[in-house]
Point group: C2
């Protein structure tokens, strides 16, 4: 029925003026393009939704967290598949710290006694949910051992602004335990900020407003998080550095030089545990003190108070702190023409429990992609460049598999890596992608070559339609209607692209499908095959679509005569980021000036409400005028360099040799944007343009040195970072100019 | 403690550059001003919070809804007070239709059986809540009799946009019963819109998100609405006409010509009942169909579905449809110099149950004001103009006491009424006022002469500080910092000013205090003295402040040598309204154009989600360019007229006789803005500038003929209404010019 509608729709579709698929492809001569398109047709034809179904089912059959028998079995399963498809595959093992819980106790003492269950019950409708003996229990990985008893305070999402509000409410978390909602920031930010404010323990819970019955019917009726569902997850301070905490910057080989755990700067000092909303309810009900602001309130049937609680909360946690082996599966297909140029495609395989969606839906699509490429090999096809498939282990605790591999092979990768293409969980819906903006034209072309199975329009058109319809204003809709290119948002963190993009400057993409697959199974025992098949991609066709899209990128970058990088798109994006940071400084200046006036002239005191009292905010230092000239100039110069290089690349008289030499320059260009010292206080992050936010975690900060210095009101550092970013961008212009000159 | 802080604050207060109270008052010569200020000091000194406490306590001792013994007793109590204070007071009785319930049944049949309690339980913490035998039960007044059984559909707030969304969700309410949340629109709009869409019954409930535990601790712990609390209220279609439905436009005297009930165009055809959230929960849980959009969801611990319900809902209602006497208490103090010029001050006295807050907190303040004026009389003071105090009956069912009085005395009032000053429920917090903008300078002066008891700054400064602090952006804050005048928003409906302002063009003000008195007692048995004293104005000092503010307006307008109307403020406001309607047309034009493109080119279809499907919106007719020139010109001309008249009024050489003649012209000026035919389809509303919204109820629409024609996409009518409003404004300019010429 659905299919029939889709076909009708396609026939009458007049929405988007997509370029019909012609034989022209970026980076290919007409003849090469024709061959490539023929190969891609074969590639598509080989892909099977049934295989994806089977891969997910088999790999999610048992819990397979880091260090578990299931984890090792999955790595071997993947290894054997790659070998059987003709790849040069091996398991590359690292040895990383990975704590699992020994003791978990959360209780309320005093007039109302309560002990948290900290347990997700089995459901008869979910076949694997009953594998309790092999499931990793509900916990936050990297919590330290701890045994604390104190009053409880509710801190909303636990981000810095929430503590400013608490201060205005006259509430201090010093010596207390905080309870924060999941959401708004990456979870690891919550205990980190709590710790900075003097809290001695942290509880994170899934409020049904954000993740539960408010969103939709709960599992097993619908896919939303049930009352007893809880979200496991890492609370490593990844914005400092990801990977094994004991081996920052180097591969965690068996005999690597390791830090003492106390020296690891990305580990917390206060105990933290995630709980379900069933466990949170009695704790929240015990809170006294003021009613919280409306945006803090969740969907539990209570009046949300800030606290402190009348009763004391007791949190006791202990972990085993074992170093465990992790198994990356690395499968290579040697390039015929440029074997020392690598197109790298990765997805992790470890999960918190069974992980059908996260990560196996992406892993299965990648395997099917690799299988189809293997089928092509059987017919004699071979890639020009080397293709490297990577099934990462230990992504969940902190991108450990990918980070250790990147750190260990950094020099080689900076020579050879053309592109890193990442995926993770996948579901039905809309194409979602981010990455290096120099890839936008090539990515757009590919997104226009893949058909969406529900609507039979291209995945580009479907995503574009969704964005246009979802835009908030007629003005925003008109702007999107006018845009013809897929905009690649910058990458933050949260999956395995981070070490490639931000540590060693490899052009990177991260992609997947979603938006029609909402659910509350994330990092719980209910992330199962049963739930996935019912709610997230029932026909597994979006696994096929991911394979088609990511596979096409892999194949085109493996075979292109001219690598389709276009730095004009990067330049346009940098120009936007530059405007943003200038506007940020201006807006902060105006806000600070007005707020300081209101504070000084006692407007807050006079406006205060007797039944909802708030202390005035604290006056802040006025925002000086910074000199953005160097940054603006560097971006202006880059425009000329990018245009110049683009003109040279379009010159049909370039010899194959010059093209090949230029290709190497192109894929290494983003490395020029790495800075010598990295970001202040977190030198592992070396990219001048992109980093995960120090206080957002997964969320990206662009021009991070400048933007975060502004946000932290460190004007001196902001000015220094302006110069550093400007220098990096200027170096890129020089580099592109030189590459162009060399190619002529 | 609080008081001490307040004094400290006042000493160090530097926020607002208020003009210190000098002996200059608008409309008074220096000598007269000095006498007036002396009188006002006496007036203030006479006011006692204890009396306000006592008035509220005594008048709220038993339920006193329309037609009840308590209602009659309160009218007599008020009458006797006025008489004892030296007023020429009498009860003026009208005879109005007022239905009370005979049968109320709401039940769910089928697999899950449930019968709604429709009852608010007594609380031991609330002394009057146990007076069950004399309480009016939970009902919506003006629901017709009905006995309907059907599936249930949830319609959010039940406004027209909600039905557009339901249509996109594929849900029709035809032949079904709807359940709507209280809020967003006046309650009467909900069954009216449901009826227009073919529903056969309507349930309105208080969701705890808007009115319950989400807001704060529920009664008796805090003042928020408990699970079993329900909101009574009128569902008369007041935007057609208020007052007795059987006597539109004429006074409902004993022998007035009455319509048959079927002929009354402001009465509903489908039965409607209000329920508590305890009663709503099982009904909402029975709903199937799609999950509703996030903004529709409330704070009950369920997944909100749109319906229809699996089970059938049975709603059976019957009423007694009695004509009952209502008792307005009218108390006059004859003016010494201009007895035929009336300054009218009113507040209703009827309540849905005990009504301590609504309306007695305002009524008590008015009584204390009148008592103080009476005390002044004892010392020989007398007003120049006649002061008329009005304690209205039957406001709750539809502004019946005031409307019938205004309709009956319309001709006399259009000759004599200088100003109508209204109040209603009152509580601690910030000055809130609306009214005719020509009163802004005089009102500002008075708001700067009254001290806020919590902060010891003026009530003007406190409100200004609150507005500035609450403004959303630095830009908005800066604009408010620059503004020096109290902005009087236009009046919609919801209290007794409506017939004065909108039917016969009397300059009107509505004022009260609030913002630190939030609660959920509205129209329930918990609107009691006990709740009021605990949560709404514990010291009754805001009753005193209301008396000071409203009393000052009364006294100044009673004694002014030159009535302080300033039509420059009206002109500025009209200029803003004109810009708004032009911007509205432009915005609608752009939105329509973009949306129609998205619909036509199938963007909505392509963007649709399989797990949350929505039909595309229906294309709308494009918005033509309307000719606003006449309106713009009329407002430009008014600027000159208002400036010219202001200059003449400032001329010290005007004789007393000329001043007196001009005064009459001034207070009648707003009548020039009445239109011959009134608004389309609701001719009772005759003001060209202000009306309650046809689809908002209480909420005002300014330039209503134009604005609503635009919103209803009736372009021809919009153009006609532009001309009608322009003509009215042009007439006002001519009128003001003539008044100025006559005065010279």
């Amino acid at each position: 029925m659905r299919k029939y509608c889709a076909l009708l729709l396609a026939a009458s579709f007049i929405a988007v003026a997509s370029i019909a698929q012609t034989s022209a492809i970026l980076g290919f001569s007409p003849a090469a393009a024709e061959a490539q398109l023929t190969a891609e047709k074969k590639f598509d034809a080989n892909l099977s939704a049934k295989n994806i179904d089977l891969f997910i089912k088999e790999l999610s059959a048992v819990p397979h967290h880091v260090g578990s028998p299931g984890d090792e079995a999955d790595a071997k399963y993947i290894l054997n598949k790659f070998k059987s498809w003709g790849y040069d595959a091996a398991i590359e093992t690292f040895y990383v710290l990975f704590p699992t819980p020994v003791t978990r106790l959360l209780e309320m003492t005093g007039t109302t006694k309560f002990t948290a269950a900290l347990k997700e019950p089995a459901l008869k409708e979910d076949a694997t949910s009953g594998q309790q003996s092999t499931q990793l229990p509900v916990y936050n990985c990297w919590s330290p051992d701890g045994d604390v008893t104190a009053e409880l305070v509710f801190v909303n999402y636990g981000v810095p602004a929430d503590y400013e509000k608490l201060a205005r409410m006259g509430i201090d978390v010093k010596g207390r335990i905080v309870i924060a909602k999941y959401g708004q920031s990456w979870r690891g930010i919550k205990p980190k900020v709590a710790q900075e404010h003097g809290a001695i323990g942290c509880i994170i819970y899934s409020d049904p407003k954000d993740d539960g019955y408010f969103q939709g019917d709960v599992y097993p009726k619908g896919p939303s998080r049930p009352a007893t569902g809880a979200q496991r997850g890492s609370v490593m301070d990844m914005p400092i550095y990801p990977g094994d905490p004991l081996t920052p910057g180097i591969g965690a080989t068996k005999d690597a030089k390791r830090l003492d755990r106390k020296e690891a700067t990305n580990l917390l000092k206060i105990p933290v545990i995630p709980i379900s909303y069933a466990d949170a309810l009695p704790l929240l009900e015990s809170l006294e003190g003021p009613v919280v602001p409306d945006p803090w309130k969740g969907a539990l049937p209570i009046t949300y108070h800030a606290g402190p609680s009348k009763n004391k909360i007791h949190l006791k946690l202990a972990f085993d702190w074992q170093v465990r082996p992790i198994n990356n599966v690395i499968a290579k297909l040697k390039g015929t023409q440029f074997p020392e140029e690598w197109v790298i495609r990765g997805n992790h395989h470890d999960a918190w429990v069974n992980g059908a969606a996260d990560p196996l839906s992406g892993q299965a699509a990648m395997l099917e992609e690799a299988r189809s490429v293997g089928e092509m090999m059987k017919t004699g096809w071979k890639p020009k460049r080397t293709i490297v498939y990577c099934a990462w282990d230990a992504e969940e605790p902190g991108l450990m598999g990918s980070t250790e591999w990147v750190e260990f092979h950094a020099d080689e990768l900076q020579q050879k890596a053309v592109l890193y293409i990442n995926s993770d969980g996948n579901g039905r819906g809309f194409l979602d992608a981010g990455g290096s903006q120099a890839l936008e034209p090539a990515f757009t072309e590919i997104a226009k070559a893949v058909t969406d199975p529900e609507t039979n329009v291209t995945v580009f058109d479907r995503k574009r339609s969704y964005d246009i319809v979802s835009a908030g204003s007629a003005k925003a809709k008109k702007e999107l209607l006018a845009a013809k290119t897929f905009t690649l948002p910058a990458l933050g963190s949260g999956s395995d692209f981070s070490p490639f993009a931000q540590h060693i400057g490899i052009p990177s993409l991260n992609l997947g499908f979603g938006g029609e697959d909402d659910g509350g199974e994330y990092h719980s025992i209910y992330d199962s095959y049963d739930l996935y098949k019912r709610f997230k991609d029932p026909t597994f066709e979006y696994g096929v679509v991911l394979a088609k899209t990511a596979g096409r990128i892999t194949l085109r970058f493996a075979d292109a005569e001219s690598l389709p990088f276009d730095f004009r798109n990067l330049q346009t994006t940098l120009s936007k980021y530059t405007s943003e940071v200038i506007a940020l400084a201006d807006e902060m200046r105006e806000n600070t000036s007005v707020e300081n006036q209101l504070i000084k002239e006692k407007y807050y005191t006079i406006a205060d409400k007797v039944n909802d009292p708030l202390l005035p905010p604290v006056a802040k230092d006025e925002v000086p005028f910074l000199n953005f000239g160097a940054l603006q100039n560097s971006v202006a110069v880059l425009e000329k360099a990018a245009e110049g290089l683009h003109a040279i690349m379009g010159n049909n008289t370039l010899t194959a040799k010059k093209k090949n030499e230029l290709n190497i320059q192109l894929y290494k260009a983003e490395q020029v944007l790495l800075t010598k010292d990295g970001l202040p206080r977190r030198g592992w992050y070396r990219h001048a343009i992109y980093a995960p936010g120090f206080f957002t975690g997964y969320g990206v900060k662009t021009l991070p040195g400048i933007r975060e210095a502004l946000e932290q009101r460190n004007w001196k550092e902001a000015q220094e970072q302006i110069e550093i970013a400007a220098a990096a961008i200027t170096n890129l212009s020089k580099y592109l100019d030189a590459a162009g000159v060399a190619a002529k």
